[in-house]
Symmetry: C2
Subunit: 488 residues, 2 copies
Amino acid sequence: MQSELIQSPLYKILNPDSIAIFGASNRFTSMGSSQLASILDLKFKGRLYPIHPKEKTVQGLKAYRSVEDLPEVPDLALIILPTHLVLDTMDRCGRKGIRHAIIISGGFKEKGREGIELENRLIEISKRYGMRFLGPNCIGIVNPYKELNTTFLPYTAKPGFIGMASQSGSFITQMFDYLSKFNLGFSAGISVGNEADIDVVDCIEYLAHCPNTRAIGLYLETIRRGRRFIEVVQETVKIKPVVAYYVGGTEAGKRASLSHTGALAGPDELYEGIFKQAGIIRAYSIEELFDFCWVLGSMPPMKDNRVVIQTHSGGPGASTADACERAGLKVTELSQETINRLKKFVPNTGSMQNPVDLTFMKNPAHYLLNIPEILIDDKEIDGMLIYFLLSVRHIKSALEGLKVPKDQISCYIKSFIEDHTNSLKKMINNKKKPIVGFSYRGSEDQFISELQKRGIPVLPGSLRATRAMWALYRYSKIKESMENGKDK
Amino acid sequence: MQSELIQSPLYKILNPDSIAIFGASNRFTSMGSSQLASILDLKFKGRLYPIHPKEKTVQGLKAYRSVEDLPEVPDLALIILPTHLVLDTMDRCGRKGIRHAIIISGGFKEKGREGIELENRLIEISKRYGMRFLGPNCIGIVNPYKELNTTFLPYTAKPGFIGMASQSGSFITQMFDYLSKFNLGFSAGISVGNEADIDVVDCIEYLAHCPNTRAIGLYLETIRRGRRFIEVVQETVKIKPVVAYYVGGTEAGKRASLSHTGALAGPDELYEGIFKQAGIIRAYSIEELFDFCWVLGSMPPMKDNRVVIQTHSGGPGASTADACERAGLKVTELSQETINRLKKFVPNTGSMQNPVDLTFMKNPAHYLLNIPEILIDDKEIDGMLIYFLLSVRHIKSALEGLKVPKDQISCYIKSFIEDHTNSLKKMINNKKKPIVGFSYRGSEDQFISELQKRGIPVLPGSLRATRAMWALYRYSKIKESMENGKDK
């Protein structure tokens, strides 16, 4: 895997040890300056060489008047210059011996005829020197494991396991905060822009071999190398899942993506067919793409489609059951053995049907450990959906009501959270069946946050949790058919 | 309107001046105690009479040994007692002259044959005294305008404009925090439980006349009075929109709701037909229900289905365009006049097609005022979707980068937010066309939060915003056909 990773044209782009930066200055409002600020903010450990015609230092770094003046041949050129300067800069980088570039500048194919011509000349120059490049008209990359972020927004999430290739830069950068809300992050995020050289297919190949990536997400407005795309994905899904969100399928989506990245989108049915053949799980919003990647990257596989729902509220239970059936999951009846084992934990007011509705529980350990363990043990159950209602604020106000001293309360809450999240996590590891939580609270609640941090997905709402669980089931089926050499 | 409101059996339940509470004690862990704590927490201004066999005071209030000892006939009895005590309590309340009750206790119809019998006797008793009651097996009500919350969770949201009747108590109480995240709240929330007496139809009639309610949300697992339901909704939608989320339509949903409230759900197509005939807008998750109510309750009507999308990022623009088309909204081309007017504001890198993609803007006033105003002025446009990327953190770090002194920064941000949210709000009021915002940030960002507080909906993500905009369009069509006396 490692050697295939290093051979990827993206390897030095995502893992450079030295970068020449064109376009950064000391004026904070200029584009290139934000990118350099993001790089500095994430504390990149490699060598940085700002190229500036006048300044001696840029953002505290020694600046160089031209690429020719650099003391070494950097691994990567990061170009954020006005369009008319890009070609010459690439040429000089090539002559210097630089073999990888990210071209953030726009004004190429997406701008019509003249831009197409410029882009063709860009390709010519890169070929002349054997250079590989990302862009133009992209936003760059983020690789939190290399502490590198070349986008114009600071990376606020943690290093994560979602590898993303996107035909929209926004769906990389503008997701930093979004992902961090769920205690998620990118393993690598790649904005491909116009794909004049490196394209989504290259990204998938890189991410397939990237050891930090457990699930691959694609935002697509078009596919440029159809046949190769299918082949690469078919190989990839044998080792990790690929999720795609495609928006060029409608007339309005098509027009929008044409003006966005000059992409020629195809009809929805065509892409649906490609996705099926390739073994891609299709998402219908950017949130769903991340939901799917989240659950696929953190849970064991789901062998079949039989789920059990555990709730302490009827409404969330019934709505989850309804959502399961709509998604193609089966809310099966529990075996008599399971019901017998459950009896001592389920209160009078509760229900031992599926959804298992526990109503009010005095002992949270029953809800968070004993009962899930019994349910997941059922041989007729392939996965479990759990509703999390309990919040730290509730526990706190309950303890305050019982007149427990303040210092004891925070201590109690801390160990409560640790004990329960750890034991639930251990249980999932032992049982090797997936559990997906859902709640109408988010990570602002410490309990939800700690569950998420320990790798237990807790999604916002039952519909999203159910759809993500379906993705797990779907991936099992895809893997099965790919391994059998059949398309499904 | 006021007289019809007062005649509703729910009027004294939602607006009592005095309440007898059965089941509250000084033990914090008991059910009734939480309800009393919630009432005290919201600072109910009426008179509260806890009934307790032993205690002299309950949670600081003078307690009474029995209902007979009360110094007045309270407007409402709130009963949170073990099942076997409920019938006798109702009988004694009736004899005392109490005419309205909320029965939170469970153990009735939802428990099968024996429970059905108990519930029938409950109905007999209430009829004997001419009493009207909510429940049993419900969670009570919240009326923030009367500062009254009889549920077991504290009401954390603001008084709002969403009137909700729910066959799940959870979808009232567990939504308090959820709604407050969007700066929303209930005008009235009613958990109907088993609907032994007062049912959803009564709730709709009340909410139709409730002056604080601008949109009605229903969570349904069944409909008990089909014909009357349709008639009442048909009248209601002439004055305000009704949104329903129904989960009994699948086999799994049906089974779940049977054990939940003893409801006999019907097939999905039947309910779909009822909703169409009645003029209900159907939501497919609880989040969607609130999204729809939010936008319907805060925006002017949308005459036809032609939308313009304003974005500063291609991906969010393209995905919104795609979502619009899927939802049945039309992303029309802009008129030449509009394009001419736009020219001076849109940068080179931007696009004046629809979606209007402004890429990077130096002057936020252009994005937040000038451009939306031009777009919404277009006669071929019925509504507008705006993407909000800008965050207070970005403005702050930009100003810090420009070395603006700290105290000036916070001052600048404050007036920035006030000016822009106010002028956008004013513009919507003048133009009388709906604007729906979306963002991948939430109200943790002060700018988003202030927009929401001023009544401009900013929804999480483009798909949800688009679906909610569709609901606006749908409502116009419903109203039109109802006013013409036709069903559509």
